[in-house]
Symmetry: C2
Subunit: 190 residues, 2 copies
């Protein structure tokens, strides 16, 4: 097994472990064990646990199906709904565990690691920007009140989604997710 593939296995294992356990509960040992590599090999590829957490955030972003926000020939608000429906199914089908890695790191680590805070901020900013662009499209198409501030709504919807995932994990039910869809799509964006 070459160096490059070991790095890939360690990076992917780190992402999975951080997502399942959180930052502080994940040891380097958990990561290398899950990757099936010797513990010492972690430091051949990452200078610190923090560095592997930054890469985990990038890997997580790739799972968020932003492509659903850009499906051709679908009205903007239907694309927005499809994006959150995908994320909802992922949570419901997995038994309401893990939540969002960006939000988890935000809750657990943002106060204590400036590097991780900044990476989480970039993740949220990029996500909110994508949501805001779809909302602006909806306004241009006449599907959304043109007087609304799409950036503010995008920021709020993303915050609400992050809290919804925590509430669903705590409640072990889809009630918070159902409330999110009802209020966002039937009240805020109606």
């Amino acid at each position: 097994m070459g160096r490059a593939s070991k790095r890939e296995e360690i990076a992917e294992a780190a992402f999975r472990q951080f997502h399942a356990r959180g930052f502080n509960a994940t040891g380097i040992n958990d990561i290398t064990k899950a990757a099936g590599v010797p513990k010492g090999s972690f430091y051949n590829h990452f200078s610190s646990k923090e560095e592997s957490a930054l890469e985990a955030l990038s890997r997580y972003a790739e799972t968020l199906r932003f492509d659903l926000l850009a499906t051709p020939d679908l009205p903007p608000l239907e694309r927005l709904r499809a994006h959150f429906e995908y994320l909802s199914r992922d949570t419901v089908d997995n038994g309401f565990v893990r939540g969002c890695l960006v939000g988890n790191f935000g809750a657990e680590i943002a106060d204590h690691s400036e590097e991780i805070r900044v990476a989480a901020k970039q993740g949220f900013d990029a996500w909110a920007h994508r949501l805001g662009a779809v909302l602006a499209e909806a306004q241009a198409a006449g599907d959304l009140d043109g007087s609304l501030n799409t950036e503010t709504i995008a920021l709020f919807i993303l915050s609400a989604w992050e809290g919804t995932l925590i509430a669903a994990r705590v409640d072990k039910s889809s009630a918070p997710v159902d409330a999110f869809f009802e209020l966002v799509f039937e009240r805020i964006l109606r």
Copy 2:
């Protein structure tokens, strides 16, 4: 110093440490050091770190100023706003750190400790119930559309608040808090 006051100091230190550091980053040693008591004395009063975390959730709930939801002679929606304005000031004035202990435990621990998950669920349920009661009062007073489901709105507002705190900590700005007030009070409850 008597037993009872040592217990109080340990319990209060545990709450402060969990709120500032999170569950996994807080060691028994951090708690007893902050309380100014010998490490071994922790186990004279608590059977486990988890047990002190359950008490921390109760102590946190007492800081949430639920009394602001019941101020006499103030319209229901103004009481709701005063409650969240108090919580917002607390976050802004503290430099966007710590967030909500219930949400933090939800994000970090709910998947891993059934006892803490259930306690966090009870905390959210009681909080949402109080918010829902104020919304029902607003409906009765004719200040809120009577066709809205107040329990669903309460659940959503609480989720949105939890996510807003995480976004504010990540952004180190009040922008997510401002978006919360604008969308909740000017759009959802208008």
